[in-house]
Every structure is written in structure tokens, then in C-alpha cells.
Symmetry: C2
Subunit: 251 residues, 2 copies
DNA sequence: TCCTCACACTTTACATGTAACATGCGCTCA
DNA sequence: TGAGCGCATGTTACATGTAAAGTGTGAGGA
């Protein structure tokens, strides 16, 4: 491997952003958790500037929402958000699948088939976590292979937003089996170089996933969410968030 | 008018962001212009913090690009960017048109027909600036009426990015006439509540606009751009950018 | 003449100071 | 007891300080 690539020293803001993003995506900072800049600065051992910048970047990605002069909190994704996101994903990934069907590298297609095969086991054993992990990779390969960088970025941001709404997603055995079958249909269309088929298969897939979530929610009668509205309380939710960042520096 | 609506004092960062966005979109800050934080702070009469924040917001919108540790410049949109953006727009606005065909308010539809009619004159007289202004409003109405806020936001950001590439866009008399005809076809489908028709009409329209740009560029043999790569020079391009912001405050 | 290197200058990235603002709570008074 | 005021506390938003990095320039040498 070439060790002489241009070296750009990691900026603190990038490290903070990745750390916070992970914390949000794994649920350590759950929806509704406040992202207090002074608090995070204390906990991560850096000054407030890079924290503020990182938090605002998460806002622009949709993982957090800003309330003017009242701080930022991790985004709460409700059913209507979820349906919006799936409609958008259907548009974007449908086109991505179409583009892939026209020209996808053999390597990417092989990787995709690998993921598809790997999904068989968790689909039948109903290993939801594992299935979703592979599902994410499945869709990621397609949007990254379509050749449109902006499209890939948008689609991946939407996928990340959806990880905030896991509790709303369908997870029945039937759902996993149906999803896997639909993935197979998508891959078949890609292999056959059938753009129309690929696009409609992808769209149908995402539309069904969305309606499955909708069905699940209305069946379970999900509460709108937590306590929430009464002003952003000063409740600092988790107290862990690990120690400090690579560049330690509290002079 | 009700004067007792909730009042949220304008933040400096918002004023700066809007001012810079306008400066970019009208070409006062052309593609490639450096967005020097200290310089802008001096010119706008505020401190560096809100300037930096506003500049980074423009980066996240795609109107500017950040070069780590080397500052930010107004985005340069080349032909490949333009094609990417049009492919994305086709996906997003195609779905928006479909949704509109299913349920669009009478008011929105009336507004849309108004814009369509108004486009007739500039289309035949080849008033390119006026036609593009109305074109922007035409597409804006559709994405805003589709009921998907995220979709609308994305589509409008892409439309803004395209304003940085005006020089690449087709502007022949034939092109304007074709565009207007396609707009009519879209509106007809919306009136007829024909989702399929609306989506394909929109997609075809945007695909043709993209290929018209491509044709124009390859015909004219556009130079890749200005001088650009040799490091971000210290050339402060324009020296105007008006006086200072609403909240004057240089203590 | 052309290349190299050191220096001066500017900016970025991070740190820190601070006024205005927002929130929760206890206290007062009806 | 209950509504409302004022205070304590903590945060945001903006301002400013500063080390390190990046860039352009010009002197000096080949």
C-alpha cells in the first residue's frame, strides 16, 4: 500500500462528528437526547468550537434538529417522517437500480450477490439485527455503484436517518422473508441488465417495506414518542460517551 | 395582520447566510471565488464566528466546497456535475409530479398554470433570464405541492446548485420552445390526475434539458473552467458585497 | 535564466470570554 | 391551595485570542 498519499491531519471536528454519529446510530444518544455543546465539550475533552461545528453538521445531515436558541437534540423520527423518507428512497434508489442495471461492475455485482446470499440465514432464523445490517449493506452497494455520487450521498443519509426509527420498522418473519425475496428479484434484474425491471423491483420493495412499517405501527398503536414537548429539559441523558478524543488537550 | 406571532429575533448567522447565498446566486461571488472568513467578517462588519458558521452551511447545501485547512470557495459546477444533478432531479421531481397528480390543491394548480402561461411570452421572444426565472418557479411549485418536505428541500437545493452552471445550460430558441411544450405536457397530466403520465413527462423533460446542455457544451467546446487548481490563491475577487448587516455592531 | 529556500503574510482551526436568553424551581401573595 | 414572580442555573450566539499550517514572494546560488 502506498504510504505517501497526501496526509491531512485529522481535524478534531471530524473526529467529534464521527464519534457523535456513531453514538446516535447505536442508540447511546437516543432520539430526543439533548446535544449540549458545553456538556459534550467537557465529556470529550475538547473546546466548544469543534463540538458546535460537529453538532451543526449532524443537523444538516438530518440526524439532529436545531431549535433556535434552545439547542439541538437527536432527531425523533415518527411515522410520517418514515413514510417521507421511504418515498424519497424509492425515488433515489429506484433510479440507482436502473443505472446499475445498465452498467454495474462485475466486482460490485459479486459483492451484492454475496450479501444477498448471506441474508438467507438471518431471514429464516429471524435474526433481525443481522438481517438489517446486511440489508443496509445491500442498498449501500447499489447506490454506490450507480455512478452518481450525489445520489449515493443522499441515499445514505436517508438510510442513516431511518436507523433512528428502528422501533417503527416491521420485523416479522414474513416481512424478512418477503424482503429477501424482493432483494432476489432486484439482483435478478441487475444481472439481466433490465433497467425497467430493476427500478420497479426496487420501488416496489421500498414501498412494501414502508407499508409494512405503517401496518406494524397502526397495529401496535405506538405512542407518539417519549415525554418530549415541554421545552428541552436540562436532563443530560447518558453520562458515558467514553473518555476523550485522540488529540487530548486540556491545558 | 397579526402582530402577535411568536417572535424569533434574527440571528446574525441567518442574515449572513442569506446574504452570501444571494451573492453567490446572482454571480457577485462567482464559482471559484474564495470565501475567506476574516475577509467576509471585515466586509460585513460582524465577527468571524457567524461568518464561519454561515459559510459551512453553504458548503452543506452544495453551493460551496471546503478544502480542509485551505478554506472554502464557491462551487464550480462542471458538465459531469450538471448531469449528476439532472439525473437526481429527474428522480426526485418525477416522483413529485406523480404525487402532485394524485392530490394537488386547486390553488397550487392555478398558480402553476399561471406560471405556465407567463412562460409563453419569454419563450417566443427568447428572454432567457425571464424564462429561467419562471422555470424555477414552475419546478418549485411542483416540489412544494407534493407533500414531501424532505423531497422539496432536496430538489430546491439541487436547483440552486444548477444556478451556478448557467453558462452550461442550453438557451436556444428551440430549447425554450421545447421546454415550454414539455411544461404544458406536465401540467396536462397533473390536470388529468394521471400520475404515470406526470412522472414520465417530468422525467423526459429533465432528461432532455440535460442532454441539451450536454450538446451545447460539446458543440461550444467549453473550457474546463478558469485558472483554478494552483492552490487557492489569495485573490479576493469582488470588493463590494455591500456595507454591513442589519445588526451593526463593531464595538 | 531558472531553481531553491527562507521569510512575511494570511488564514484556518481550536480555545476561551461574555452578554443575552431560556428554563425550572422555590417563594410570595392572594 | 394555586397562580405568578423572581432568582439561580445553564446554554446559545457572538466576539476575540492564538498556535500552526498554507501560500506567495524575493533573494541567493547554480
Amino acid at each position: 500500500m502506498n504510504l505517501l498519499q497526501p496526509l491531512h491531519s485529522v481535524r478534531v471536528v471530524d473526529a467529534v462528528r464521527e464519534r457523535l454519529r456513531q453514538a446516535i446510530l447505536v442508540g447511546e444518544l437516543p432520539p430526543g437526547a439533548r446535544l449540549s455543546v458545553p456538556d459534550l465539550a467537557r465529556r470529550l475533552g475538547v473546546s466548544r468550537s469543534p463540538i458546535r461545528e460537529a453538532v451543526l453538521q449532524l443537523v444538516s445531515e438530518g440526524l439532529a434538529v436545531e431549535h433556535s436558541r434552545r439547542g439541538v437534540e437527536v432527531a425523533r423520527i415518527d411515522l410520517s417522517d418514515l413514510l417521507e423518507i421511504y418515498a424519497l428512497r424509492a425515488a433515489l434508489e429506484g433510479v440507482a437500480a436502473r443505472l446499475c442495471a445498465e452498467s454495474m461492475s462485475a466486482a460490485d455485482l459479486t459483492a451484492l450477490r454475496g450479501v444477498l446470499d448471506a441474508q438467507g440465514a438471518p431471514a429464516v432464523s429471524r435474526d433481525v439485527a443481522r438481517y438489517r445490517e446486511l440489508d443496509q449493506r445491500f442498498h449501500q452497494i447499489i447506490v454506490q455503484s450507480c455512478g452518481n455520487l450525489r445520489l449515493a450521498k443522499s441515499a445514505e443519509q436517508l438510510a442513516a436517518e431511518l436507523r433512528l426509527a428502528q422501533r417503527l420498522l416491521a420485523d416479522s418473519a414474513e416481512h424478512l422473508r418477503a424482503s429477501h425475496t424482493e432483494h432476489r428479484r432486484i439482483v435478478a434484474a441487475l444481472i439481466a441488465h433490465a433497467p425497467e425491471e430493476a427500478e420497479s423491483a426496487m420501488r416496489d420493495h421500498l414501498a412494501r417495506v414502508a407499508s409494512a412499517a405503517q401496518a406494524k405501527v397502526s397495529a401496535e398503536g405506538h405512542p407518539p414518542s417519549g415525554p418530549e414537548p415541554p421545552g428541552l429539559s436540562h436532563s443530560g441523558l447518558p453520562t458515558t460517551l467514553s473518555a476523550d478524543l485522540p488529540t487530548g488537550g486540556t491545558p
